[in-house]
Subunit: 405 residues, 2 copies
């Protein structure tokens, strides 16, 4: 899915980074000035520049300043403000979410639309193209599809370099159809893992290098950001927190196991348990209402569910050592009634030396987290856009015209 | 502890890698030939070469071939076979282990010596220097201390970029004393984590990119190799598998918690439980004897301990998705009596889709695993020696004179 990462392609990427970084820092530069600053041979530099211009990332301009001597004004090179845009699409089970960023890594827009779970892939991609099109306005931050760099896509299920379920040589239908439609590389990952990456870059754990994200929804899953990168696991099977056993010999789970966290902490499990306890809630918003009304059965139930979640998180903290844990998904809408018991159990079961070092937070990106994570995937994998927005590089090296917005 | 890793130092490192890779692949090359192949400017290349020659990694030689035209023979550059050697030292609680590799990343020797737990740091470093000295023979693979590149050191306790227990600006005494003694950079990490890295590179999980290592010794701990790199965690607190709760409200643990895996699966815990069950074993070798003699109490005990371990490993597999789990430490000497119940519990509790994907293996490096991991740390962190031995790069790009040994 990604570009090969041998030493030579990494070197090439390093050269592109260097050139783009110089243009970010100094604004327009002539080829000669670039050559002096980057330490590359003329041949290598001109190769790199030709590719950057061909890709639309860099544009040529005639210098506005008067030439020092006689002759024609020097041609300068500058970043193309419309270039390097990236799109993220989350093909969730029953809804589609899209988001887009510009070269400055600013989110220029997002959109969502629900659909039937059995909508065919052709129609999902049509819908995605329409939503992406809705982001292309005429304002300053508008998206120009011609300048698209790549698309990062989240899908449900196992995705990885050696995917467990599918032949990795067969591309996902979303990948094939989007590549046909937009003519750019399409990077793919599991949408819950991408939500983890989104929260670690733009959301509740922004700037965190080691982040654990848990999503409590119809399924229970999550993702790990390890040392600033999305962790996939050897077979694309990481982040399956919902299938950790919490009740040996407990209820059967969709995964084929029994007593998994998902059998206790999914939306269905919680609503079923609430009804069994005499409560009335057809969906999560009704459960949230009951919680807000101080319904004792709801509070007791969530306290028990939270304790189970906290125990699992404590075990994972001892093993992995994240600085931030983010809890997302619809059930997190129950707020403190769930999160406080999680925090208590986490505190009780994490190694004492780690207490107060890990911060538990609610997710902030909502349903577009996966689409934003798709963009982050593009920014990581693309040789043209490999930096984190707001990361240490950009913080030290601000984009000159950022102030004037 | 490590070199700064900004885009520019990464680029520089990439250039050094490129030059060293060309010399590995093609043997001796002239400056002109190197220049043609590497695409760097003359200035950059000569800078890099001057540094590589000054560091002793590369040496100059006069070409043996007749010059094509008139004039003096061309000077060529070649890898220095004695250069870039790295030493690993594991300062365990009651013993010291050292190991060394040459530029070809071959282990040229290792040595161990037990000592009292309260031996002062000055004397430990003296002992280390003596053991390292014992590795310098006069054979072809002998170590020349003058060519030392760096030392990787394992110590007991929390080590990390933001170590929890210690002020990270205060270097560890081993670091200070070794730097004085050898005059080279000293890289430090937790010795159990380094054993994980050692097993992932030279040992039971050689070549594994995602490896979980569990050590069952006086303490219970381990380490994670994630995407081919040692994972430290946000506060240097990863790999604390021994402090995952397995018996809520169980026995008190040295960490301050209760019911931790360590209270069930450490050497002391197992020997105590064996005696409580009427068995007789003063130490692990006696326990191993009992197991081999078919002692039913020992087998039942280890079956229960193994089940607890397997449950913890299954939870971690669902979260992290390693391809290999390595079990080391003295208790692993009990063999199948422990490992089979671990395997059964792992199989029962890991997500069904992940079963048969993760391989459970016993550690193979024994007590020098930590010292070898220290070397791996140097190979990773050093700009001159950043490749894995036997990794895909070297496999595709063999060292020319490797055949003639």
């Amino acid at each position: 899915m990604s570009q090969p990462r041998g030493p030579l392609s990494q070197l090439r990427r390093g050269h592109e980074e260097l050139v783009l970084g110089l243009l970010r820092k100094h604004g327009p530069l002539s080829r000669g000035e670039l050559g002096k600053r980057c330490g590359l041979s003329r041949t290598t530099l001109y190769d790199i520049l030709a590719e950057l211009v061909a890709s639309g990332a860099v544009v040529t301009a005639t210098s506005q300043e008067a030439p020092r001597g006689r002759g024609r004004p020097a041609e300068t090179l500058t970043l193309n403000p419309d270039a390097g845009q990236a799109i993220g699409i989350d093909f969730a089970r029953r809804a589609l979410h899209v988001a887009a960023v510009n070269l400055a890594h600013e989110v220029v827009g997002s959109a969502s639309e629900p659909h039937d779970a059995d909508l065919p892939w052709e129609e999902r991609v049509e819908l995605a193209a329409r939503l992406v099109g809705s982001l292309t306005g005429s304002g300053a931050g508008a998206l120009r599809l011609g300048a698209l760099d790549a698309i990062g896509v989240g899908v449900v299920g196992v995705v990885g370099s050696q995917a467990a379920e599918e032949d990795p040589t067969v591309p996902h239908p979303a990948q094939v159809l989007l590549r046909e439609r937009f003519g750019v590389p399409v990077l793919l990952d599991n949408n819950t893992r991408l939500a983890a990456l989104g929260e670690a870059i733009w959301g509740a754990a922004a700037g965190g290098q080691d982040v654990l994200y848990l999503r409590l929804s119809h399924g229970v899953g999550g993702g790990l950001v390890v040392g600033g990168s999305l962790h996939r696991g050897a077979y694309g099977l990481s982040g399956e927190f919902g299938h950790i056993t919490v009740e040996p010999g407990g209820a059967p789970c969709d995964c084929g196991g029994t007593g998994c966290l998902e059998t206790v902490a999914s939306i269905r499990a919680v609503l079923d348990a609430f009804r069994a306890a005499g409560g009335r809630a057809a969906d999560v918003p009704e459960l949230v209402k009951a919680v807000r009304a101080g319904d004792q059965a709801a509070l007791t139930l969530l306290s028990g569910v939270g304790a189970r979640i906290g125990e699992v998180l404590a075990a994972l903290c001892n093993a992995i050592g994240p600085s931030v844990i983010v809890i997302g998904g619809e059930l997190a809408e129950t707020g403190a009634a769930l999160v406080e018991p999680v925090e208590r159990a986490l505190h009780d079961h994490v190694m004492p030396v780690s207490r107060h070092r890990v911060s538990l937070r609610r997710a902030t990106l909502g349903e577009v987290a996966g689409a934003l994570g798709g963009i982050a995937l593009v920014l990581h994998e693309s040789p043209l856009l490999s930096r984190y927005p707001g990361g240490p590089d950009l913080a030290e090296d601000p984009i000159p015209d950022k102030e004037s917005r």
